[in-house]
Amino acid sequence: MNSDNETLRKKLLEQIDDQAINPKPKVVFRCRECAVWSLWLLSVVVGGMAVAVSLFVIIHHQYDFYEATHENLLTALVDSLPYLWIIIFGLMVLVAIYNIRHTKKGYRYPVWFVLSSSIVLSFALGSSLQYFGLGHTVDKILGQNMAMYMSQEKLESRLWQVPSEGRMIGRQIFTTVSPTSTIVFQDYRGVRWTIDVSELKSEELDLLLEQEKVKLIGRPTDPTLRNFHACGVFPWMMDKPMKLSELSAEREEFVDRMLEHAEAGRKLVAMKETREQTASSSRKKICYQIAPVKKMPTEG
């Protein structure tokens, strides 16, 4: 043993004695490890929630009525993607990786493995949460409690309460004196409108009669007098989580209605050409001229 060694050994033991240095208790290390794993778990849970809400948003088919709400499908998708949750999910994956790498043996796993396992775990958790309706619940609660948060309900309301563009949300208050083709409708902002329902089908009139909240497509005929011509009525679907089949059926219903109006328009034009039209039929049929009908693919 050389003198340096003696010196260092002696010096260190003296320093340990003089400064009363003791090994840190085991609990410190256990707590640190627990904290790292807890943060990892938290990041996976939050990541899972982000996936659940994102899935809810994507599954909810905000873009199903894109012919009525947007120029095209692309702009509808850009408008409805859950950017905030996608960013949160990305951040949570990074936090999860950071935490895994800082566990005792986390460094042994390659980054791709930690990254893919975090993503897979968050997706598995998120899908399960969404299956139990948590995506909808989280989105709704945040929307109700945070003014800044744009929930699907707020987004849908923003998209649909634009009477000047032929879209309204609200409910029927009462019908006018029978026999009539108009009803009184109160929109989302509490404004009352006289709605011409002459081009609606009986199922749509039934839906209005239920006095539940609905989405209305049509055209304002006299905005000053609050007159609106209705061309379609669709149920408001933001009150509960919807099944995929219900959402698909809603899309089908919308497309069918718009195609029916397009067909009616074609017939009207044909009648005009053969001068068979009556004054009343041409006056009342205006749905074939609204924007979503024109955007529908024509046959052949």
């Binding site: 060694n5 260190l12 240095i21 208790p25 085991k26 042994r108």
Partner: protein, 194 residues
Amino acid sequence: MDDTPKLPPSDEELVKMTLQDKSFFGDLVDRYESKLKRYIARLGVKNPDDQLDVLQEIFLKTYKNLNGFDTSLRFSSWIYRIAHNEAVSWYRKRNVRPEGHLIADSEDIIQWLSTKEDSAEVLFDKTVNAEKVGEALAEIDDKYRQVLILRFFEHKEYEEISDILKIPVGSVGTLIHRGKKSLAGVLNKDAVRI
């Protein structure tokens, strides 16, 4: 009476003994002082006074964190990790790059260059100019130099290097491979025959 010679306690046993009686820590210091002194010198801490300061800091940190030692690791990997971190933080604090002073290790260098490992891309002449290799080592990227030093000068296995540098074992192989290429590049640039 049992005449079989008693084996000295393993490092891991010494750790347990130290936690009962701190005087055993001196034995760990004895075992690792010269190894770690050489290692930190290779990493760039050359001045003897600085070496003593860094060594002291390494052993104190080791002592304070004994309860955090993961017994599934080798103690040597753990203390080398502490030494590595201390040496790196020492030259970062002083904002200096380690210089090539591996002349004394020429035997190690010769041994290294004669290994077949990862040799496809790097062919060395055994007439080694150890000084130039040392200088070239100081020129290459830190991450390559660190693995090359551990592998070829400290003779650590891949798994130990993984534990010391806290990187995946696969990355150790990659870094060694790239490090040797990088080193060969520096040596060829200087047209040094090694």
